[in-house]
């Protein structure tokens, strides 16, 4: 399974409840194969016709993982799968080491922000839950940049998400691993350097990031619920006055 080249490897597997399956494409140059599913390979003929298959889409230098889920599965399953996939990718990708800047003497910068030397920056990984939600992970040698796009179904969720994420970005200083401005095309970005990995336990850092993603989703849906509940209460009180 492990080769020294940059060949994409395809792992097909079926979940125990066999509601859906996904293909995860990984680069074997990562020393840990991040697979969220039990790797039992299944012959193509036994696949259910309802399911959509992820395909390898080569968008330039990035490899796209698509988890398309059939209509029967519940939302809870998909978010678990999405987060587990992200967690495993991060566990594989978070092997950072100190790397002094090649361009300028005595400088030490996160290479992902510079984008100058292609040999230092590995292929970025894009994990999509659906068209609206995706996560881009870029991993050069001494830093990781994780950019997220949050689901925004309607106008209200749109402004709630924008408000909340702006609130968080302004407090990036307190979070240390948060980037003040999100990457173009995404809603929020993290920047983790080798220094952060030295200071903090790696698995706890990954826990934090996954929990952060979960919390954002939860918070936005709770805010929306509170607005709707308050609206209902306000309307009822007002109309009761006329009875």
């Amino acid at each position: 399974m492990l080769t020294g080249t940059w060949q994409p490897v395809r792992i097909n597997s079926l979940l125990p409840d066999s509601h859906f399956a996904s293909s995860v494409y990984l680069r074997p140059s990562l020393f840990q194969i991040a697979s969220p599913l039990h790797s039992t390979s299944v012959p193509p003929s036994s696949r259910s016709p309802r399911l959509n298959w992820s395909e390898q889409i080569d968008t330039g230098s990035s490899v796209v993982n698509l988890l398309s889920i059939s209509k029967d599965s519940t939302m809870a399953n998909t978010i678990r799968l999405y987060l587990t996939c992200i967690r495993n990718t991060l566990e594989a990708a978070m092997c950072l080491q100190n790397f002094p800047c090649q361009e300028v003497e005595r400088h030490n910068k996160p290479e992902v922000e510079l984008n100058t030397s292609p040999e230092l920056i590995m292929n970025p990984d894009l994990i999509c839950r659906n068209e609206a939600e995706k996560c881009l992970i870029e991993t050069p040698i001494n830093s990781i940049r994780i950019s997220m796009k949050v689901k925004q179904a309607d106008e209200l969720e749109n402004i709630l998400a924008k408000k909340f994420l702006r609130f968080l970005s302004m407090r990036a200083e307190a979070f240390q691993v948060l980037r003040r401005k999100p990457v173009q095309g995404y809603d929020i970005s993290f920047l983790i350097t080798n220094y952060h990995c030295e200071e903090m336990h790696k698995h706890k850092l990954i826990d934090f990031i996954v929990q952060f993603m979960e919390d954002i989703d939860k918070e936005i849906s709770e805010l929306k619920l509170s607005v709707n509940t308050r609206g209902r209460l306000v309307a009822t009180e007002f109309l009761k006055q006329f009875i």
Partner: protein
């Protein structure tokens, strides 16, 4: 406090205090501002301790809402009817204000309950003055008569430079509010609130409440209205008021609720935003705690030791 209260607490407080301390020699000269640009100025001088001078400034009316000498239609008659001999209107009003009243505390009825009722009524001066035209229209509705403007939208002031429309008819009155908000977040929140009004009306318990509709474009009732009044960034709300809603004691409450509808929605939108900020702050604290757990103990120890600097 979910609903906006009709008597102004500021005025009520001052009136009660004045009654309690009638013999003490204290001059009062206070000004205050209430929502939607209504200003009060109350004065008591020790030369006439039994007399209070109350000046009220009203929101600027737009062109379509006509005003008679700076006051809404029917305001003067309403004041005379509500207060009787206790209150006297001073003409011309004080500089910068639209209405000045002289309140004679000596003429208050001696019965405690009636006295409090009149004071409450004086504190609700806003409802009496601003709500006068609406009250006339709704009273016509309750008596099932129609004034000269049947079927035409009548513009009434409720906010500075903005008006809402009432279309009186024999068996019902249609009230249409063009809702405008300055902030884009306010607009989205208000739109979701207003749609909740329509939803809430559909529940069985509120069958007797006025029918409620919301639409993004001006409803057909506003056909006769001027163009400037027809732009609203949060849509148009329509209430259909039946005679059942305005009979007897319910008239005053209905007038107040309809008069301050926009202020009510705006107030709750702001409360909602405040609540969201509190929640977000709490969530940020939780996340930072989670991040702290990620730090290794050695780091934490180092931070604690080299923490606050000390001066010699």
């Amino acid at each position: 406090m979910i609903l906006l209260q009709s008597p102004s607490r500021f005025l009520l407080q001052i009136l009660h205090d004045r009654l309690l301390s009638q013999d003490k020699g204290v001059d009062i000269d206070c000004q205050t501002v209430e929502f939607d640009d209504v200003r009060y100025h109350i004065q008591v001088s020790m030369r006439n301790p039994k007399v209070l001078v109350l000046s009220v400034a009203l929101p600027l009316p737009p062109e379509e809402a006509a005003s008679f000498d700076g006051l809404p239609f029917g305001a003067i008659e309403a004041i005379k009817a509500a207060y009787g001999p206790v209150v006297q209107i001073l003409d011309p009003p004080k500089d910068g204000f639209d209405l000045t009243l002289k309140i004679n505390l000596a003429k208050l009825p001696s019965d405690e309950e009636q006295k409090n009722a009149i004071l409450l009524q004086i504190a609700s001066i806003r409802e009496v003055v601003l709500g006068a035209p609406l009250k006339i229209l709704l009273k016509n509705l309750s008596m099932k008569t129609v004034g000269p403007e049947a079927g035409q939208p009548v513009a009434l002031v409720h906010r500075p430079n903005e008006s809402f429309f009432v279309v009186p008819q024999a068996d019902k009155a249609t009230v249409v509010y063009p809702m405008r908000f300055l902030d884009s977040i306010d607009i989205v929140l208000a739109t979701s609130f207003l749609q909740e009004f329509v939803e809430a009306r559909r529940t069985a318990a509120l069958n007797n409440a006025p029918a409620c509709m919301w639409s993004q474009s001006p409803p057909p009732e506003l056909k006769g209205a001027p163009e400037s009044a027809l732009t609203a960034n949060a849509g148009f709300v329509t209430f259909v008021v039946n005679p059942r809603h305005v009979e007897g004691k319910k008239l005053d409450r209905t007038v107040w609720n309809l008069l301050t509808f926009h202020a009510y929605v705006s107030y709750h939108v702001k409360c909602s935003e405040g609540f969201m900020h509190t929640r977000m702050r709490r969530r940020v604290d939780t996340l930072i705690q989670a991040l702290d757990r990620a730090k290794s103990d050695a780091e934490k120890l180092k931070k604690m030791v080299t923490g606050p600097s000390f001066k010699k």
